[in-house]
Amino acid sequence: MSAPAKDLVETPVLAVEGLSTAFRQQDGSLRTVVEDVSFTIGPRRTLAVVGESGSGKSVTALSIMRLLPGRKSRIGGSVRLNGEELTTLPMDAMRRIRGNDVAMIFQEPMTSLNPLLTIGYQIAEVLIRHRGMSFAAARAETVRLLEKVRIPEARSRFDEYPHRFSGGMRQRVMIAMALACRPKLLIADEPTTALDVTIQAQTLDLIKSLQDEEGMSVLFITHDMGVVAEVADETVVMYQGKTVEMGATADIFANPRHPYTRALLSAVPKLGSMKGTSAPSRFPLIDPATGRQRENQSPVPADSEMRPRAQPVLEVKNLTTRFPIRKGLFGGLRGRVHAVESVSFSVQPGETLSLVGESGCGKSTTGRSILRLVDPTAGSVTVDGKDIRAMKPAELRRARRGMQMIFQDPFASLDPRATVGSAIAEPMLTHGAASRSGVRQRVVELLHRVGLSAETAQRFPHEFSGGQRQRICIARALALEPKIIIADEAVSALDVSIKAQIVNLMLDLQQSLGIAYVFISHDMAVVERISHRVAVMYLGRIVEIGPRAAVFENPQHPYTRKLLAAVPAADPSRRTMRRASGTEADIPSAIRPVDYRVPELAFREVGEGHLVLQG
């Protein structure tokens, strides 16, 4: 889009000057988390605030709205909305502005709506409060708003409760609520982070088209450079509570000045950056302090070309997992969730197969079925030539030595009450893999291997950052020298730069230890980096599987194409005018009636090892 023109005549909608926010700590001292932040947003413009987790983005937004706990926080500096100073406004007047002149949407659509009130009421409330409408009038207006944010059958959904809405629809409800009074400024705090790629794309589109219609300004908070490139006219980069760089988005992307900005940009996975290669490749990383490249940047050596067909470490044939849905007086079977349906693939030693697809398409269930964390309904899973499904419990426990799992949430997958050392040692002790002293030795070794020092063994998980924890999880998974690791969204919860580090670590380990990965993710850009082969899942089925280059460069199934198109490109110059936004709100459900007959599946081979589901 056009470069930002400094419009000197128009007063900015929002002018933030020298904003500082501090929190009172337990001991009574103040901790400043936002320091001297200044920026302005002109009418109809979008300003993005980026930065990693904890850099003070949300606090900035909440300070503007004065939504921070009054007794615990102190705000300094000035915030002017259309020239009116907000920081000194009486609370009553401030309340008249909130939701009216400035509106806000939050990161977590699942928790931001009151579960006990109807969707309609929660929107209408704003109208009643600020526009003084009668309930009937507010209701009519609300229905209009719901239609505007493309909620199908808006009239009938007025009286529904939030739990019936998917994440994407709830976020649209939040948007409708924010737009109810046609605010001059919309603050969107990571409104798409919690959503799937395709839903994320739809939501971004919606915000943009509404911005055009209503002519409001947007303050957009995100940590995703791809999203920044997509939406923002101007960008503010925050680092440890301070603005380190500010300017037109295109400028910043083209010519980042601050080392942190550069580090941030270098770590952004860009779709299509791997065109023409077939092997996985490490992320180039830049140190935010020095601005220099951190590690030697050789791509993973060519040895990870597809190996000659050895015996696969993992072979999955017609794997099917269904969950019964029971209802009624005697818990009769009312249907089944066909979470995984006839999934077949194999993984070679040292190979990475990625499973991609939207939330709920059965990726995790596939992974869990392979490890028999859930019992599959049908099919076979062979690890190292042994059938997992036929094993007795004790046998299975032994067999689990050969296959490990890394989970999405590094915070949840470590017992908060066990030291890091005992967490890593536990698998070895359980299997008697080493003597007690041998175990200690090995723990230290493993910690070194994932780039942590030996002394961390005595610490507790809460003393580590998310990235460090994921390293610990990887060390634990490595402890039993597994042949295969299933990584379920192993990097999705991490900040961009950390994400890149972990991906690099996984690649290094694969290279040196010859581990095979089943990499589960919905992040296409990361998948592109890490995988040898890719399987795209939709509604419990694999719809396309093949070498990564083939699938990404020559997607055959419409769903694969849609998935790829939805990924925001971290490049403002390629900002696309969006495909016609789909109004279909939900991913079709995998719930089928009891007597559902699964249709025959047929695959078409489009290239070497590149299969596409037909029909």
Binding site: M65, L67, R95, R96, I97, R98, G99, N100, A103, M104, F106, E108, T111, S112, L113, N114, P115, L116, L117, E125, V126, R129, H130, Y161, H163, M174, M177, K327, G328, L329, F330
Partner: protein, 306 residues
């Protein structure tokens, strides 16, 4: 929903069965109604005679079988203490007294805990919170018989505002209700305070505030309903302790309810009456819990019982 209710009611049957068995064995093992009835002047021959007359000389399992057989035909047995009156009749005629006492206690508990809990949460760690906390601690630390005696002394004897005991006039329920309700009020206050604090930290409260809704409206329309969910559950759970507390309270206030009957029935090993009370009480407790669950699902659209 109806299916759910039916299922829940059906589930009560084994529980009730278990209760009758436990109570039967315990009571039979612990004492003999005949020697109790006869007192210190009884002769041994006489005890043996009476025991035979009541069928108490038969083996325990046989007695239980007979009892259960009768129970299935709706016969709850006869009270030994009350000259062979039908036990069910003896118990049922007491039900209104205990019900009104419990209802009064509940009313107090709610009237006290609702404002107190909310204010404590709003003024967290400040004076009003501390006062509420202290009072609720006091409420929990004071055995209800003790509170009852104090209430009688102050409000009935010194001030003469209320009758000392009995349930003759309408005001009579005021003091025993308070004595019984105090500890529940204390528990509920503490609970409401903590769930209120939790709710107030939820994202949707921030959303509501971001909409420009004033603090009172946020409180009334957004926070309280959510906080009431756990409040309701606890009321259900406390139904049973309310029944238990009634035993003591009724004793203090000579309140002719089931609690008073229970003590005396246990003390005289009046099997049929104790059994009937326990069955009835358990049934009430379970029905209250069912009611709470149903109410819960009415308030919380996320819960759907099918």
């Amino acid at each position: 929903m109806i299916g759910y209710v039916v299922r829940r009611v059906l589930q009560m049957i084994p529980v009730l069965f278990g209760i009758t068995l436990v109570v039967f064995v315990l009571l039979r093992a612990s004492g003999d109604p005949v020697s109790l009835m006869l007192g210190e002047e009884a002769s041994e021959a006489q005890i043996a005679q009476l025991r035979e007359a009541y069928g108490l000389d038969r083996p325990l399992y046989e007695q239980y079988a007979v009892y259960m057989g009768d129970l299935l035909t709706g016969d709850f047995g006869r009270s030994i203490r009350y000259n062979n009156q039908p036990a069910l009749e003896v118990v049922l005629e007491r039900l209104p007294a205990t019900a009104s006492l419990a209802a009064m206690a509940l009313v107090y508990a709610i009237l006290i805990s609702l404002p107190a809990g909310i204010i404590a949460a709003l003024y967290r760690r400040r004076i009003p919170d501390q006062i509420a906390s202290f009072l609720s601690v006091l409420g929990q630390a004071m055995p209800n018989f003790w509170l009852g005696i104090m209430l009688i002394l102050v409000f009935a004897i010194w001030f003469g505002w209320f009758p000392v005991s009995g349930r003759e006039d309408a005001y009579a329920v005021v003091l025993p209700g308070l004595a019984l309700g105090a500890s529940l009020a204390a528990v509920l206050t503490r609970l409401l305070r903590s769930s209120m604090i939790e709710v107030l930290s939820q994202d949707y409260i921030r959303t509501a505030r971001a909409k420009g809704i004033g603090p009172t409206a946020v409180m009334l329309r957004h926070a309280i309903r959510n906080a009431l969910l756990s409040y309701l559950t606890v009321i259900g759970l406390e139904a049973s302790s309310l029944m238990a507390g009634a035993v003591v309270t009724e004793q203090v206030f000579a309140w002719p309810g089931i609690g008073l009957l229970a003590i005396q029935a246990i003390n005289s090993r009046d099997m049929a009456v104790v059994q009937t009370i326990v069955i009835l009480a358990a049934l009430i407790v379970m029905l209250v819990n069912l009611l709470v669950d149903v109410l819960y699902s009415l308030i919380d659209p996320r819960i759907q019982h099918v």
